[in-house]
């Protein structure tokens, strides 16, 4: 018999304090950049210079608010609540400090590189490859410390908040690593491993699940911990929270393709994305109701307590956003809403309402406790709440109006055929809404700054304190500790997981109806057996076991998450090589590739799509619907997600070099009313064609079938094609002299190519360079240079 011993544990709350203040500081910066880009959309002269144009600042805004503001906030919440739920101090303070300073260094790197145009061109994953590696290292340091805490915990049961944290940590690791796979071609540039439709699927599998597992599940964990704390009563239904968790983890991972509805993505993937998005309605609302009903009996406190006000509003916005998300995932609704400001409204209702208000609630609750004092001004917190809510509503409503107006105007057709409005007419119509959005955003930011002042005063009134708890350390072994590994290995969850894995592989390699039918029958039988067994067992069954087994629990989460990813992405990867062999498309020329890099660096994809959907109003405006084959060599794909400007998939068929020249230097000259920035710097910025060969070699390594000759003569061919464009510009109507190696010439070459590929070369000329040949050829070149 072991002797009972009590130990007093002092928590590391310093790390929570650090993350809170980093979150507030970067929140202000991120939102300020948001207000600036909102101003740029309403008033184009606000695009100041090369480094502060909309295309470069918009990724800075999204990265700052997602990874800096919300990221730091969730780390603060997780460190604070995990220590208390596990009754253990952070195992390594040094690792936690490395996590904090490493994360801030990453954010500072983003602040420097994004305005410089150093980007991978993948939405919400723009940061260049060295920063991607740094993110992986810092994130793993956090994961390591967290799981180490789990291992050394003094509380046997894992509270539901911890499940959400586990799922978030595991899934973000997988998403980040897969989506960041790329071939570097220099210290600041790389080409993603995936191309075209594959990249679209991977990117939105990442993008959607970054929303799910970075902006939603950690905050749900925080909700399940902090709302009961603030309301001083347990969560409304712990049972519902279990169902909420598993349903969210299982369903969310499948929903990514709803960002690609009505595009060239295979229909089955679109349908899967839509169906799973619709199914998300139930668990999301289950979670929302669970959060709101936790406040039952405490509604009177809402009038006085700003913390509960923010939580109630935050959870309500979560409900609203998770109602709107599945709605937007219905194909017919998406046909109207996609590419419009409706999506912007949806995103900001969630980001400002759910993330922003939950963060504010948590900060107002935590900071006084972390400094052993009271909140400096409850009135100021209430003012923050009202000004923030009003600003948010102004933002969201104006973008709803703008989005629906935009969608309806785009599709308005005349009775006798033809479009009713030009693109510019639809844009000009939205100008007032863009101003309202900016004012709404400014009000929200003002509220946030009031909070920063209030919390700073609170800190000045108090003194930093660390929480402590007395725990029983000996004799407190989880009940599950008595279970042998053999019992656990053959427990029901493992049987289910094994079956799921086997089925996934079997289904992946079979095509016949017979095998499919047998799999379905097998699954149903197996499922029923498990159900009957579990009901028969009564309480203390397998779920109780896994709640006490962090490793076991984590493995199940990995399986639940991987199934969706594997089933959606693997088929497109399997089909990739055959699609590449049979394509009649031709890779970009050396100069077009350079132009494409400029297009990505300037962030053109933030306002222009390259995906014409199969609707009459789209084909009438832009041309034939886009196909998967057309973007097969695009690493990364450039389908885009927003049309502040028109689609560019076939711009090469309708615009001349001189039109592009005038348009890039002064967009209002060719398109009166346009809010596009001027890109005069492209006239003076130059490209070193000596680097083009390396870029083509990099493209070849990710599967683009360049011939050895094309790679070897990259510099020469880029120069020759540039000369043709320069000669064209020298002639009428412009008669201008442009440097051959200017960025503008390369960009014009790329834009003229869009929707306008050359005919495929005869088969005998296709001497495609393999990766080995590319390497050997590169080695030979280096050796010759050395000689």
């Amino acid at each position: 018999m072991s002797e009972t011993q009590t130990t007093t544990i002092v928590y590391n709350d310093k790390i929570t304090r650090q993350f809170i203040f980093a979150s507030i500081a970067f929140g202000i910066i991120g939102m300020l950049v948001g207000v600036v880009i909102a101003l740029q959309l309403a008033f184009w002269p606000a695009n100041v210079g090369e480094y502060f144009s909309f295309g470069r600042l918009r990724p800075l805004h999204t990265n700052a608010v997602i990874f800096a503001f919300v990221g730091n906030m969730i780390f603060a919440g997780i460190y604070y609540s995990s220590q208390r739920l596990l009754k253990v101090r952070i195992v390594s303070d040094k690792l936690a400090a490395f996590h904090f300073w490493g994360w801030q260094a990453i954010i500072v790197s983003a602040v420097i590189t994004l305005p410089l145009g150093l980007t991978q061109g993948k939405e919400y994953a723009e940061l260049i490859w060295p920063i991607d590696i740094a993110i992986a290292v810092v994130w793993l340091s956090f994961a390591f410390n967290f799981f180490w805490m789990l291992k050394r915990r003094n509380e046997k049961q894992l509270y539901v908040a911890l499940w959400f944290y586990i799922a978030s940590i595991i899934t973000i690791t997988i998403l980040h690593v897969v989506n960041s796979l790329a071939v570097p071609i220099s210290m600041t540039q790389s080409y993603t491993l995936f191309g075209g439709v594959q990249d679209a699927l991977v990117q939105w599998w990442y993008g959607h699940n970054a929303v799910a597992f970075f902006l939603t599940t950690p905050i749900l964990g925080i909700m399940y911990y902090f709302v009961p704390k603030a309301a001083d009563r347990p969560v409304y239904s712990y049972r519902l929270s279990i169902i909420h968790f598993w349903a969210i983890v299982f369903l969310y991972i499948w929903a990514g393709p709803h960002h690609l509805l009505n595009t060239a993505l295979p229909d089955w993937a679109q349908t899967t994305g839509m169906v799973f998005s619709l199914m998300l309605w139930a668990p999301s609302w289950g979670g929302m109701l669970n959060g709101l009903l936790t406040l039952r009996g405490a509604w009177d406190k809402l009038r006085k307590d700003p913390v509960l006000k923010f939580y109630a509003a935050g959870i309500t916005f979560y409900g609203m956003a998770t109602f709107e998300g599945p709605l937007l995932s219905i194909k017919a609704v998406s046909s109207l809403a996609h590419y419009t400001d409706w999506i912007v409204a949806h995103v900001h209702a969630a980001a400002l309402g759910w993330n922003g208000f939950m963060a504010a609630g948590m900060f107002y609750w935590l900071v006084p406790r972390l400094y052993g004092t009271k909140l400096h001004s409850r009135e100021a917190a209430n003012l923050h709440f009202y000004i923030g809510t009003f600003g948010l509503l102004l933002y969201v409503v104006s973008m709803w109006v703008a989005g629906i107006t935009q969608g309806l105007m785009w599709r308005a057709e005349l009775e006798g055929g033809g479009l009713q409005y030009t693109f510019i007419e639809t844009l000009v119509k939205l100008r007032l809404m863009y101003w309202m959005r900016m004012i709404g955003g400014l009000m929200y930011l003002t509220g946030f700054i009031i909070m920063a002042w209030n919390l700073l005063k609170t800190v000045q009134n108090g003194e930093a304190v660390d929480g402590q708890v007395e725990v029983v350390t000996v004799g407190l072994k989880p009940e599950v500790g008595r279970k042998s590994w053999k019992e656990l290995a053959f427990a029901q969850p493992m049987q289910v997981s094994a079956l799921i894995l086997v089925l996934t592989f079997v289904v992946g390699f079979s095509t016949g109806m017979a095998s499919f039918g047998s799999i379905v029958i097998l699954m149903c039988v197996f499922g029923l057996v498990i159900l009957f067994q579990s009901v028969k067992q009564g309480g203390g069954g397998w779920h109780h076991i896994i709640e006490g087994r962090a490793l076991f629990f984590s493995v199940l989460v990995i399986l639940a998450v991987l199934i969706g990813g594997i089933a959606e992405i693997v088929p497109s990867i399997i089909a990739g090589p055959s699609a590449m062999r049979s394509t009649t498309n031709v890779p970009y020329t050396a100069l077009e590739l350079e132009g494409r890099d400029i297009y990505i660096a300037e962030g053109c994809y933030n306002c222009h799509s390259q995906m014409i959907r199969p609707f009459s109003w789209e084909t009438a405006r832009y041309g034939e619907p886009s196909t998967a084959e057309e973007s097969i060599f695009d690493h990364p794909f450039q389908w885009g997600s927003k049309r502040t400007g028109p689609d560019l998939a076939r711009v090469g068929t309708s615009r001349s070099a001189s039109w592009h020249y005038e348009h890039m230097l002064d967009p209002r000259q060719t398109s009166p009313g346009s809010n596009m920035p001027s890109y005069t710097h492209m006239l003076t910025n130059t490209i070193d064609f000596g680097d083009t060969e390396g870029k083509m070699r990099g493209m070849s390594r990710v599967g683009v079938p360049y011939t050895i000759k094309e790679i070897q003569t990259a510099s020469f061919s880029a120069d020759a094609q540039a000369q043709l464009i320069v000669d064209e510009l020298k002639g009428p109507p412009l008669s201008v002299d442009v440097a051959k190696n200017s960025e503008l010439v390369a960009l014009i070459a790329y834009l003229k190519r869009l929707g306008n590929p050359p005919p495929p070369p005869p088969d005998e000329e296709k001497e495609v360079a393999t990766a080995d040949e590319t390497d050997n050829e590169a080695d030979n070149s280096n050796a010759q240079e050395k000689k």
């Binding site: 609540s81 349908t271 304190v465 639940a560």
Partner: protein
């Protein structure tokens, strides 16, 4: 009739069984978890639900040496 629908569906693409399998997987897992949760022991559920409400000791000033004391 069902077989005709199924044939038409699967003729479009051989990978179309993925969404069906996905739906079935979800259905089985979700039903399994729901029944499991609804039949679980109330006492242990309530005890776990109360975990965030466990009170800490009075906080310690950071000016005092922090750590673990037995």
């Amino acid at each position: 009739m069902l077989s005709a629908i199924a044939q038409g569906y699967f003729n479009s693409s051989s990978v179309l069984f993925y969404p069906i399998v996905a739906l079935l997987l979800f259905l089985v897992s979700f039903t399994f978890i729901t029944i499991r949760v609804l039949t679980s022991d109330k006492e242990s559920i309530d005890a776990t639900a109360a975990l965030p409400l466990v009170d800490d000791l009075a906080p310690l000033s950071t000016k005092t040496k922090s750590g673990i004391s037995s």
